[in-house]
Symmetry: C2
Subunit: 131 residues, 2 copies
DNA sequence: ATATTTTAAGATAAAAAAACTCTTTTTTAA
DNA sequence: TTAAAAAAGAGTTTTTTTATCTTAAAATAT
């Protein structure tokens, strides 16, 4: 019942961008230093964030990463979702992985509700709330 | 961001007890069969549930497991807490594991809030709500 | 008392997931 | 055309989850 380290790292980086110089590109190794995230691992995380449209990147000299939208428009949910996929709380909540009892399992229904509430909580907080 | 299989198994077993014959002892292998949980693994899970006072056990012939309190007085939180320890959402929220930034980290504070809400959600649902 | 049935406890093993690295390719700017 | 940067993906290590096995202890029936 925990977010992964990758998620925490992603939150740190995106959180940093909210305070950082607008529009400037930051290189992976700069971000690694600033946010205390292992450089190579950060590579993968940044790729996820780019792919889901939270960051944008530019290759080559003068390249790097920067926010691709306003901090107000990025929620904690977006970031966690981006690096670890959909939040499910329990395996049976993901399409196709239902256990044989799923149909009328009250636990299933309750956990689904808990998941909705959790996701809504995470959607309530945006990156500008982190400065 | 998921509960463990052990938690789901525990929920199934305790959920079953809510519908089962009151006061009767059920053996580990009966419960294993009924709830589709690997027998040996269930042993460990039942031990946790006994240790935290959700179930009570009796050894020897006529022995087994049964609820040690009313279904109304057992919450989903109690069960999950029993088998996987305190819910923390992020490592830095557990005493002594704070990262160097913890002191004034907004992410930390927000996740702590999310954790509280999640725990409260889980406390709202009791086992009798599962029948 | 003794055999039998059952949980308790803990060590250990296997499997899966998370955390992290490395290498090669592609893109860009100077 | 060269140097610097990210992209992509394979590969490794570590940690956690999941599960089993073995031995001990307790309770009961005979
Ligand atoms: S028992 Fe219920 S909650 Fe657990 S996996 Fe099956 S459907 Fe989901
Ligand atoms: S950066 Fe903030 S949230 Fe992440 S581990 Fe450190 S204190 Fe916790």
């Amino acid at each position: 019942m925990k977010i992964t380290k990758a998620s925490d790292y992603a939150l740190r980086v995106v959180g940093f961008f909210a305070t950082a110089e607008k529009n400037r590109y930051y290189m992976r190794n700069e971000l690694s230093e600033i946010c205390s995230v292992p450089d190579s691992f950060l590579g993968k995380i940044l790729q996820h964030l780019v792919k889901s449209g939270i960051l944008e990147s530019e290759r080559g000299k003068k390249g790097g990463f920067r926010l691709s939208k306003n901090p107000e428009d990025i929620t904690l949910y977006d970031i966690i979702r981006s690096v670890e996929g959909e939040i499910v709380i329990n395996e049976c909540l993901v399409e196709g992985n239902a256990c044989k009892i799923s149909g009328n399992c009250k636990i299933h229904n309750v956990l689904d509700q808990v998941r909705c509430n959790l996701i809504n909580e995470l959607k309530k907080v945006n990156v500008s709330n982190l400065v």
